[in-house]
């Protein structure tokens, strides 16, 4: 739900720039977003090779929108810079999510392995945690 800011007091100058420099800068107003998205997106935008400036502001703590500014070196439009930063962030997040899932599954397998081992020690057996570890590794390969 982003819209390009057309008339906003604080950012009027930036919007003028945008018309003069072929879309090299843009100010977006993101509705119903806060520092949660703003700061992370700003951080990721800086890591985009064509982005020269990235910043955001929540103009008042009670306002329901943030203003996001992006300025590029001209190789891509500012809008494309923002879009690519968003895709980068999604890729990072998806990898983080699957890593956590693998770590949790691994932990659980470790717990079960330990239990099994304890059980087998009681029974006088010897196999146990190794099998569980093997399982966990197979899970990782999948993800």
């Amino acid at each position: 739900m982003a819209r390009e800011l057309v008339a906003h007091e604080g950012a009027a100058a930036a919007v003028d720039d945008a018309h003069e420099d072929d879309g090299r800068s843009i100010v977006l107003a993101l509705q119903d977003e806060t520092h949660t998205l703003g700061n992370a997106l700003r951080d990721v935008m800086w890591s985009h090779p064509h982005v020269q400036l990235a910043s955001y502001t929540q103009e008042h703590p009670s306002s329901q929108e943030i203003l996001l500014r992006c300025q590029t070196n001209g190789a891509v439009s500012a809008e494309q810079g923002v879009v690519e930063a968003l895709h980068i962030m999604q890729q990072m997040l998806r990898h983080m999510g699957s890593t956590m899932e693998a770590a949790a599954a691994d932990w659980q397998a470790g717990q079960q392995g330990e239990q099994q081992q304890r059980q087998q020690e009681q029974d006088g057996g010897g196999r146990g945690s190794q099998a569980a570890d093997g399982e966990a590794e197979a899970m990782e390969e999948d993800s």
């Binding site: 977003e33 879009v83 980068i88 956590m100």
Partner: protein
């Protein structure tokens, strides 16, 4: 406690040349996101470490522009393969509803966003409306209602829909709990129900027992929807105390909400992270200085040799949290400043999630990740679609 399981299968390569402090035992395996062309050691140190001086911390910023070191031939632009190489989560303890894990290779901005989402944007079910039939206890109705609202409930919020003000309460958006207790003196003189605990809350899967007053009518029973039932996470939360003859009779209607609106919906007692500490020997202290340092920091520094040949080795930093601030102080003393330094690793987080019980902690983390992805999607919807990645 203390059991460590690695999520990443491969061991990290030994400390990358540039970042790891010379002569010091790094707590980390080295910078997790080192660039192909290495930065000069001083810059790499500033990029990856916060230096903790006694009176201030240095190099605390972490945002890096892609072109920051272009003049040095180092490209800091995002690279997914490098991110994947550097990123790792390893759970260090997972007991009940508390999980602690180490996460490295991600910027603090992203870690903080996940923390914020877990606290204030992840839904749970909580008591929102209390219909009081009778309350002759000394606790006022509104205080009692507030106490009830704060009781964490063990029920998966994903089974329910949000209820807006206009929506009529139904089996899709409301859970009904009943509380009916009366205190009386038993023939043997003991008191019955003089303490009302959360275990006294009864789930009503068929819905309200007084639908005319509460305007809550279920079309069908919730028993199939919530096979595990609904109950407080803890049975021993004291709600009220009664004297003989006093009674409480009420109905609680729970709805789905997020911590942003009221903390009672927050699924975490709290969740937080801190940076991985690192104790570095700037140069190897010898002889008497080494002995003094080892004495000041027992366990953290191990002495080897004796007399003039005495040297120290840095032990496990995580096991000596309480000595770290002492390291910071010692590093400001003239005698020890040349030898010892406290640092924090900027992209290595010791993350703790304390769930209130409705969610498993690792599920909370994944929910926050999903939430963040969908926030990006929401913004992308309003923007143009570009066919190619420009780099």
């Amino acid at each position: 406690m203390g059991r460590t399981k690695k999520a990443g299968k491969k061991e990290e390569p030994a400390a990358a040349a540039a970042g790891a402090a010379a002569g010091g035992a790094a707590a980390d395996d080295g910078p997790s996101t080192s660039y192909d062309a290495s930065l000069p050691a001083t810059l790499e140190e500033q990029r990856t470490r916060i230096i903790c001086k006694p009176d201030r911390n240095l190099h605390t910023t972490s945002t890096i522009a892609a072109s920051q070191w272009a003049s040095l031939g180092v490209d800091a632009a995002f690279d997914l393969a490098r991110f994947k190489r550097g990123f790792d989560i390893s759970i260090t303890s997972y007991e009940g509803d508390d999980m602690e894990f180490e996460m490295k290779g991600v910027s603090c901005a992203v870690a903080n966003s996940l923390r914020r989402i877990m606290i204030s944007e992840t839904p749970t079910m909580a008591i929102e409306h209390v219909f009081i039939v009778n309350n002759t206890s000394v606790i006022q109705d509104e205080v009692l209602s507030h106490r009830l609202g704060l009781i964490p409930l063990k029920v998966d919020p994903r089974l329910f829909q949000y209820k807006s003000k206009e929506d009529a309460p139904s089996e899709q958006n409301t859970i009904v709990l009943k509380l009916k207790v009366e205190c009386r003196r038993l023939p043997n003189g003991a008191l019955e129900n003089d303490k009302v605990y959360s275990s006294a809350l009864q789930w009503l899967p068929e819905g309200s027992e007084m639908p005319d007053e509460t305007s809550c009518r279920f079309a069908s029973s919730q028993a199939a929807l919530v096979p595990d039932g609904v109950r407080p996470v803890h049975d021993d939360i004291l709600i009220a105390k009664l004297r003989p003859g006093q009674a409480i009779e009420l109905e609680c209607h729970c709805i789905k909400g997020v911590g942003d609106e009221h903390a009672k919906w927050s699924p975490v007692a709290t969740t937080w992270y801190r940076l991985m500490p690192e104790v570095v020997l700037l140069q190897q202290p010898r002889g008497q200085v080494a002995e003094e340092l080892a004495e000041q920091l027992p366990g953290l520094l191990h002495l080897s040799g004796s007399g003039d040949k005495a040297t120290v080795v840095v032990g496990d930093v995580r096991k000596h949290d309480k000595l770290l601030e002492k390291v910071r102080r010692l590093s400001g003393e003239e005698r020890y400043a040349p030898y010892i330094q406290l640092r924090k690793i900027k992209d290595h987080f010791i993350f703790t999630i304390e769930s209130t019980g409705a969610w498993r902690p690792h599920e909370l983390f994944n929910y926050a990740v999903q939430m963040m992805v969908s926030k990006c999607d929401k913004v992308l919807e309003g923007l143009q679609v570009f066919p190619n990645r420009s780099f």
